[in-house]
């Protein structure tokens, strides 16, 4: 590689002006879709992702229903206009795999055994992609589940870290993901200090890997605070409005 882009300069500033431990700006909103039982929306840097949750509801087709717990189904999908080159709307190999990975990372948090023979369906729609969509997808799906009133052990929050230009950085964007040396997405249950998803793409030494996981977990904790805030915000505003009208 002759003319490689500088991903992290001498001052430790990245392509989008962040420091190596900075997250991208995050905006979270809960309950924005009228027809779904629960919904949420996230903007993380240039990522724009919608999540909708239906259920628990009767499992269709019937033979898929499980006798002892709810069936959790998840669809991660990228809109054709979410990337620069038009993406075919048919689910690609990558999307099918990510659907499975996201489902498995959310599964331990949900009390599925409380609702046997039903199904819970999660739809994650990437409207605009800029790297780290699986993590943002998990973060937003967990909010949509909480909004739907589905009992959960904990919120799930996800964040990636990776190696970019010989530095370990947190929350990789699209360029860093593609040009960097390694990417480590982590999904995390903050109250239990438990990891429910851990992947690695690329090569890292043991020390680098540990450093990446630590950084990703720090990122998760920051995003978790935002998640809680977003969930409360939906009801807090009504509460305040009602109490103001009370004082009048």
């Amino acid at each position: 590689m002759t003319n490689k882009i500088v991903l992290v300069n001498e001052e430790g500033i990245r392509t989008d002006g962040r420091k190596i431990t900075d997250l991208r700006p995050i905006k979270l909103e809960v309950g924005i879709l009228g027809n779904a039982d629960g919904s949420a929306y996230i903007e993380q840097g240039k990522n724009k992702i919608l999540a909708a949750v239906y259920g628990p509801r009767e499992a269709h087709p019937r033979h898929l229903a499980l006798p002892d717990k709810a069936l959790l189904r998840c669809r991660y999908h990228m809109a054709p206009f979410s990337v620069e080159e038009r993406k075919s709307p048919a689910p690609s190999r990558r999307e099918i795999e990510l659907s499975k990975v996201i489902r498995e990372s959310l599964e331990p948090a949900i009390f599925l055994e409380k609702f046997p023979r039903t199904s819970i369906d999660i739809f994650i729609e990437v409207l605009q992609a800029d790297g780290g969509t699986r993590c943002a997808g998990i973060t937003v799906a967990s909010l949509a589940l909480a909004d739907a009133g589905i009992p959960m052990r904990d919120l799930i929050v996800a964040c990636a870290a990776g190696k970019v230009g010989d530095q370990i950085v947190v929350d990789l964007n699209d360029v860093e993901d593609k040009e960097g040396e390694a990417d480590v997405p982590v999904a995390y249950m903050p109250s239990f200090d438990a990891i429910s998803l851990l992947q690695m793409d690329g090569q890292l030494t043991t020390e680098e890997f540990q450093q990446a996981v630590t950084l990703a977990l720090d990122g998760c904790k920051k995003i978790h605070a935002l998640q809680k805030e977003a969930l409360k915000a939906k009801y807090q505003s009504i509460k305040e409005a009602a109490e103001v009208s009370e004082e009048e």
Binding site: G55, E58, A148, R153, E243
Partner: protein, 232 residues
Amino acid sequence: MPFLYENRQIVTPGDLLAEGDFLAGFNTYRHDEKIFASRLGLVELGGKKIDVVALNTFYIPSVGDLVIGKIVEVNLHGWTVDINSPYPAFLRTPEALNRPFRPQQDELSEFLSVGDMILAKVISFDRTRDPNLTIHEQDLGKIRFGQIVRVSPAKIPRIIGRKGSMIGMLKKETRCNIIVGQNGLVYVSSRNREDEKIAILAIKKIEEEAHTSGLTERVTDMIGKERGEVTQ
């Protein structure tokens, strides 16, 4: 370690509520010695028991519940009823007719047909079988007039109020007959359409502001205002 929140504070799933000698009530669970919230809601500590009053839920049937349902299918031996729950309910013929059912002559859709709304009671339900209903009780059966409002099942206790204070006030102020289905459907009927309209507005307001305090007074005020507009 004591109780970590104040009463009626909003908590999110996974929030650590208390540690030690407490009981895990509604929408909470125990892990080791710790009690966590499992739903988004308002915490309430009563004695040793910690509850979370959920802000959004769905209806899970429970034996004895009064529910409002819609007939979605007429089968050979009864009706399938949508009770706004993950589990479809079934109304068997012996629970609907007051005489033996003769499969050869009786046409079930003459009693209840698809689309009919019924007021019913849950007589059995467990995690292995779908709920069964009955309409063999005073005031149960087909709903022939009036209107039905759908609210989140989480708000039903608020519509009823403490010892029925809210529902009592609603009935008195709006002069409507109001029956609350535990599954989130509320039946409103009156001879006067305007009264029904006001009652529905009031129920929607209660649903929207269920987690705020001083609601009964605000709803009473609202009904009064609406009344004023109508009579003018």
